[in-house]
Symmetry: C2
Subunit: 329 residues, 2 copies
């Protein structure tokens, strides 16, 4: 199998992206990695030798974090991210990974790789952190703001197949993000989605609340991109604020500094648990190929984990399985 | 001025509700308090004497926490909450407070007290906690799930007047809850609301994110009841989970228990900051009278605070001010 990696996207590109790719290439000799980016920037990072399962695909341009997504993808045909997407489109690669501009990657997915037949809206599906470190796959978390009930149904089917194929969960529990756990709650969209999900070939467990996500109240959390993004940011903001208040409290006297020294390892562990960046790449589901968004701060381990994840998805025929379920084949 | 108090609603009713009312009556002799509820339950709590500015209005029935809101309000005409609402409707009281069933109180507001002319949807407007203890008024937090842009505009006008009249904030900063701070973000509803808010006679500061609410990024936070509720529950859930993980971490060894003893006062303070129940009653704005929802766990101080809050609102002619702004008078 062949995986295209956008070598120029992310805070640590191309250095740590290339290094991560080289380590992945060493670990999985059966996988061909296509490093897409500026030859002049990439070659010095290879330390003189190119493994047989790594190729460089030259791309002159780069889409930056501040580029307007759709315009950038339309105009910069030579950008590393767009070239990687084109490789997937042309079946020269089975999957692509990028730690670059999220909006531009979604545009690359839609405009270059293309929507899967039968799918109305692709969805971005990151893992939300949970206290037991297993995580919840949440979708959509920002690809589409206005979701119809039918879109939420498709998210549920795609998310369910992903968790089963990639994470080996049998009959993943699918929950609908809502304002209460009873049926007949929420917006008209949520109520209509509830009815559709009850009829779907998934293990639908009903409405779930944002307050219980950290306790892994489901395996797949279905939401529209607007409410989902607000939930995620409310969680991030609350955790960040509490940790910074704790830091202040621990630093306030000699005694509290002693307490801080005692608690430091536990606090670090807790902080790490809350960090959704720890949970690997987020697939963009509903495209004609596998596209994985890696976090902007991705390092060597993150790139390697994303390659591992893409390999499992490809081995499990993720895309064909989704297509078969959506199109009833 | 006269304030009706639902003596039978809330976890600590009638005991602490009545006690809170008595203390409020002693503090503000110019305010008449109407204790609405079961005479037989209330009278023994008065310790033999009824202050001249307290009256008991007998009500035979009670709406419980598990009653279906609309049905309960329609059928239990003799319930303390409904009778208190009727007093406001009949101009026998200027305001009503209740710590009872939230849904039933919203139904009482709509069906008994009545919607203000020109208002399409009343809104529930609690204070969200902020780290500086000042708080953000958020509306709507659950009265209406499907908000149109025009509803969000009315929330903004009502919330802005409330913070100015009740909290003395000049030109309160109004923010629209969204997935990014730039303009043109979010759902079609959010985009249309943004345009309306820009034209409104308020201090609109643009889109704000859920992650910054704890840092008081605005004074009035505008959201639909669905996203707002999800934001609030995500914040509550995250804070609750972190505190319970901290408790576990602090209890894990003799050393960490020493650290816990040192940190206890600071942690309690921090936990209190995050507790939105600390922030008094939530007005239901957009009705033909003042209706205040007190938290279910309201105690003596909470009831007294709610009376204080209602007095200030009444002194500032809150309802007439909102009506004048909405109806352009």
């Amino acid at each position: 199998m062949r995986i295209a990696i956008d070598a120029m996207g992310g805070d640590h590109a191309p250095g740590l992206i290339v290094q991560g790719a080289l380590e992945a290439a060493a670990e999985w000799p059966d996988t061909e990695l296509l490093l897409v980016g500026d030859k002049v920037a990439i070659e010095p990072l290879l330390k003189g030798s190119l493994p047989t399962n790594v190729k460089i695909i030259h791309a002159e341009e780069v889409i930056g974090p501040d580029d307007e997504p759709v315009r950038a993808v339309r105009r910069k045909k030579g950008a590393s991210m767009v070239v990687a997407g084109q490789l997937v489109k042309d079946k020269q690669a089975d999957a692509m990974l990028s730690a670059g501009n999220t909006g531009a990657l979604m545009a690359t997915g839609l405009l270059i790789v293309g929507r899967m037949d039968g799918i109305e809206r692709p969805a971005l599906a990151p893992m939300m952190p949970t206290m037991d470190d297993i995580g919840v796959l949440a979708l959509d978390l920002g690809a589409n703001m206005d979701a119809k009930p039918e879109h939420l149904l498709q998210y549920a089917i795609m998310g369910s197949i992903y968790r089963s194929k990639v994470h080996g969960i049998k009959e993943p529990r699918v929950g609908l993000l809502n304002v209460g756990t009873e049926a007949k709650k929420g917006t008209e969209t949520a109520k209509a989605a509830f009815d559709l999900l009850e009829q779907a070939p998934i293990n639908f467990i009903g409405n779930v609340e944002a307050r219980d996500v950290l306790n892994r109240n489901c395996d797949v959390l279905i939401c529209d991109g607007f409410a989902g993004n607000i939930m995620l940011k409310a969680m991030e903001g609350t955790a960040g604020t509490i940790f910074s208040m704790l830091k202040e409290a621990f630093g306030s006297s000699v005694l509290t500094k002693i307490a801080a020294a005692i608690m430091l390892p536990k606090l670090k562990q807790l902080k790490k648990k809350m960090d959704y960046k720890e949970h690997g790449g987020a697939p963009l589901l509903g495209l004609n190929g596998l596209v994985v968004k890696c976090h902007g701060s991705s390092d060597v381990i993150a790139v390697k984990n994303a390659v591992r994840q893409a390999r499992i998805a490809l081995q499990g025929n993720l895309i064909d399985s989704i297509s078969a379920e959506i199109n009833g084949k």
